[in-house]
Amino acid sequence: MDIVGSTALAERMDPEALRQIMDRYFAACGTAIAEHGGIVEKFVGDAILAVFGATVTHEDDATRAVRAAVSALAALRDLSAELMASYQVSLEARCGICTGDVLVTLVADGDFRVIGDAVNTASRLQTAAPAGEVLLAEGTAAMVRSQVAIEPVPALSLKGKSRAVAAWRVTSPALPAADRPAAVAPLIGRDEELEELRQSFRRATRRRQACLTTVLGGPGIGKSRLVQEFLGTLRDGEVTVLSGRCSAYGKGVTYKPLAEMLGSYPGGWTALAALLSGGQGRLAARSLATVIEQAPLAVGESVGVEDISWAVRYLLDILARARPLILVWEDLHWSEQTLLDLVDDVATWLTDVPVLLLCVARTELLESRPGWGGGKPCALALELGPLTYEQSAALVTELAMSEDVYPQEQYEACERVARLCDGNPLFAELLLDVFADSAPAGQVPATIQALLGARLDQLPGPERALVELAATIGREFTRDVLDAMAQADGISEPETGVLLTRLARRRIIRPGPSGSYSFAQTLLRDTAYTFTPKKRREHWHEFLAQRFAAGEQAASWEPLTMAYHAEAAARLHRELQPGDPLLPAQALAAADVLTAEGMRALGRKDLPAAIALLERARELLPPGDARHTALALHICDAGLGLWDESGPMAALAAAEAAVPASRRNAAACAVTRLLVMLRLGLAPPARVAADAAVIEAGLAGDPDDHLSWSRLHQLQAHVHLVAERAAAAEESLRLALARARAMGDGYEEERLTCALCELAQWTPTHVQAGLDLCGALRVRFAANRGLLVPVLVTQAYLSALAGDVPAARHALGVARASTGPLHLDLADAAVMEMAGFVESLAGEHRAAESHYRHCLTVLRRAHGAPDTQNIEVAIARELFGQGRPQAAELSLNQVEAGPGGMSTRARIASTALRGRILSARDRHDEAVALALGILELSERADDPCLAGQALSDLAVVLRAAGREEQAAHAAGTAQRRLAAKGAVVLASRVRDWLDGMEGDLP
């Protein structure tokens, strides 16, 4: 702000008197500014530069600035009256306010300086303001509109600005009472529930425990209101509260509520990231950044769902150590399963820190998760029931009678509302609104939805039109987007402001911070949306898709929002004109966005979300588009991960229907269908192999169809693996990998590389080649420990074979450190199994047995009952190694008596061991017969270690039976195969035994 005509004043006054006058001016204005939380940055001549929110920000800094300016001008008017009496001078000033980013530099004594365009613009606005008035820049006006009365002035041409600048004039520092948004409805009849929430929080704090409290209830019953009341009772600084909301639209975007929640931390994600230091902290920061900022990943790098869950726990642990933490998950019934898993994990695994997980959901949550919260030491579900008639009446009375004293005439409307509202507070509130606007004549809508519709129908035309526009954007919307739509719909910007104020007064919308708004209730938005004609919705969704697609550089670039709107437009178009294949202009771009997001989800093994996103993408692709094929295959991959048959089959059928003319699509789908059938055991391997051969013959005519060929080789690899032909499987995978590289498909390449790495355990390929691959993958999967663990297990196996037991033990230690905190049970079982192998190799048979038994326990507990035959045979082998042949035999009997046939691998291993047991009891003929019975099978097995073990067992049995020559032959074969693999320890043992240097083989 600055004095008007101060130069003239200086000429006229004695300098000493002028000094006194100016001192009083600075003091009066300085006080007004400080009272509103502003800081005077400097006095320049007669001008004052005050800053709001420079060092500490408030939600209402802009409003504070406006009110400070108005009261400074008022203070000056009072001062001026006094000065007139004593000095015969009058002072007048004017103000300009602009909101924007500035650079704040701290100097000595806590003082600071600000630099930025906002400072210059404010100064120019000030110069343009009439005496005694306050002018606001556009950004400031948008932020204060719901609090302060303002009106637009003609655009100003300001010095140093190339274009005319829009400006607003403050007409009153507060809105007239009638224009202020209505107060929050009172909370009635929820004392017990409120106490339960307080109790949960006390329990979390006192026991330093993660407590999961779920508030359940139908729409409008007052869940959010209860939580709001509870949070309102907490003292500032006593607790950190973060909240995020799931939404019905945006399906598949698993972590959006999490991003919103972490963004609600003061200072946002930037401030949180600063808390994450050290190796583990950086890992957590990187994992979280991928979901919060959509940070790009390096090629081939990925972050898994378990890593994200771990990173969230790591961060929450840090936050909750500083002070108790409350996480509010709103509308959790719309959450993706993966996010529910995350919330569940936090509640289960976060220990010794005070955290309250406050979940707000409709009862539908229990339909998708019947056991939600079950089995936790500190879980509570609160179901909010309807209010009693008395409570409804009290609520209605409070809502309808805000004044002090009322006569006791009959309040017909109030009584009817209290009876009709079914104990639902939102219903009551809306009914009152309906009755307030029109006498309750005739039928009253019977359901809350119908009532909301009636409420919307009562709105005057322009307000209704604006509500429809806002509902198309979503539950939350910003002023700039709404303005753009309104302008296109013929509503001017100032008019939009007036309409928004009216809608806020009617409690239909609620103003939020910095130019944002939200519908008062989700249900209200949904109803407004449903009540908007589809043609109109289609039009506006397309408009919004266009806007949010406005180039990657633009601030409005929100790819997922764009995709949502494009999708909605496409869906509505199909509903309106089912025969018309026309898609919105943004459909392809949206499909690409959704595909990319789906592939990210697939990369982190968020399989349900991946399927949802990819299926959404499919709906936006026109028939005949080549992208249909890859989408179907990826949906199949995700579906297979969930052991689901119908999803993949439907996806393939959809692709075949969408691209009927493409031979390549037909081939890729046919191959993938066989793969699904083989993996899920829907068809015998022999039949799959035969069908694959037919497809291969067909593909011969199209050698460049890399995708189909790559998938065919993968299918063949699986067929080989089922028959224990690891070498052939490896060869097929290599062919598949070459095809993936030829088409530049990073996704296929990564899958195949992982498969090859794991396969290295069972192939004749030299251990060193396998170890090299493991080394490369360890670097790549550092942040995705779900993928890292199998690599480490393979590495341990190969290191042990190569004779480096310490390296093997180290790799397993690293793996356990990952599976533990991430609670990867199955991966943990794999680590234990490998630990058993390594200890067995080191001659520690008791330790080995214990590891195997641990592994068996985990596997038997696991969902989907994995095959445990190999582990059970391995346990028998360890018992035999401990000199307990009888126990070993009993153990084998149990395996063989188990349900279903034995796999080739288990059959070889158990028969070889039986031979050894019989031989040890001098039943040589039976032993030899058994061992020779599997000779052909063993020799054909590609796994050198499996074959080596079986052949050396045969050699021992033969020598004990006195058939030395045959024994030497078998041992020689075993030794050669082991040596070729690089399994030096096992190979040298067999050689030493042959040479008579070793007494007996384990």
């Binding site: 008639y389 008395e390 009446a393 009290a394 209605v396 009375t397 409070e398 009678m401 004044e403 002090d404 004293v405 009322y406 006569p407 006791q408 005439e409 009959q410 309040y411 109030c414 009584e415 209290a418």
Partner: protein, 292 residues
């Protein structure tokens, strides 16, 4: 000795040697004061032949239309007004009603006690509702004025006014001003009707203005006619209306009748008489079990 009756005097000086609030026995037979002896109470005994003459009734409400034929004039017409300095004063006002509610209540009292003398204080300053401060100012004035009966067919749900309202109604009780207050029409808590110092009234749906019942389950003391009651309304009109608002003036009117016949009944005696003459107590088989 003074003209002021004992119940309206300031507290007596402390008598040395007797604990506070007490008196020496020697002082007891001293000053004579009037008593209405309560005989075997019947309706006939209670109000037979009475018309309310000589009893002053004040209606705290939206104002009373003095020239309405069913009201038949008011003695004093006052309103609560801002004195200009933020304080509230009770000042004379035109005998008009901003809403109709006060006129309706006055007409019920007049119907029952045609000889009573009616006054009005407008505390519902907007007609439909008013501030708690205006209610307190109006009630305080009416108690100071020494009305025999104050009709309050209104209440406040705001807890902030509870304590002061209770003090005022206690004061009225000790100073022999009977406050008749209607219960809230919704099942909510409000004041002053649940206080023990007032006569609280809700409605029954019978058509007889003189039929009322005692309620043995407090806080409502009596049920009087309040459903589809023909009442006066502003602008000289007459309407049929429902609410506890219209039950209270029935009891206020009956109280005026009783007091005009038994001038010296204290409020606690009046409540007893109302009880003993209630339909369900006085009539054989009316509901009450009379124990000797």
């Amino acid at each position: 000795v003074t003209d002021i009756p004992p119940w309206r005097r300031p507290p007596r000086d402390h008598f040395p040697g007797v604990p506070a609030w007490g008196v020496p026995a020697s002082a007891l037979p001293g000053e004579p004061f009037a008593v209405s002896p309560v005989g075997p109470v019947s309706r006939e005994w209670a109000w037979g032949g009475a018309d309310g003459a000589g009893v002053r009734v004040c209606v705290l409400d939206s104002g009373v239309e003095g020239d309405h034929p069913l009201v038949g004039g008011v003695e004093q017409s006052m309103e609560v007004a801002d004195a200009g300095d933020g304080t509230l004063r009770v000042v004379p006002a035109e005998p008009t009603d901003l809403a109709g509610h006060g006129t309706a209540c006055a007409s019920v009292i007049r119907l029952i006690a045609p000889g009573a003398c009616l006054s009005s204080v407008r505390v519902l300053t907007s007609g439909k509702h008013g501030s708690g401060a205006a209610l307190l100012a109006g009630l305080r004035w009416a108690i100071d004025e020494g009305f025999d009966v104050i009709n309050m067919s209104l209440s406040t749900a705001k807890d902030t006014f509870r304590d002061e309202l209770r003090e005022l109604t206690d004061q009225a009780y000790f100073r022999r001003t009977v406050v008749v207050a209607s219960a809230h029409n919704m099942p909510v808590h409000s004041y002053p009707w649940p206080f023990a110092s007032v006569v609280s009234v809700a409605c029954h749906d019978g058509p007889d203005p003189m039929t009322y019942y005692y309620n043995p389950a407090p806080p409502v003391d009596f049920y009087a006619r309040g459903v589809k009651v023909p009442v006066a309304w502003r602008g000289g009109k007459q309407i049929t209306s429902t609410g506890n608002s219209f039950a209270a003036p029935h009891i206020a009117g009956i109280s005026a009748l009783i007091l005009s016949k038994h001038r010296m009944l204290a409020p606690f005696q009046l409540k007893s008489v109302l009880l003993l003459a209630a339909e369900n107590v006085a009539r054989p088989d009316g509901g009450a079990r009379v124990i000797d």
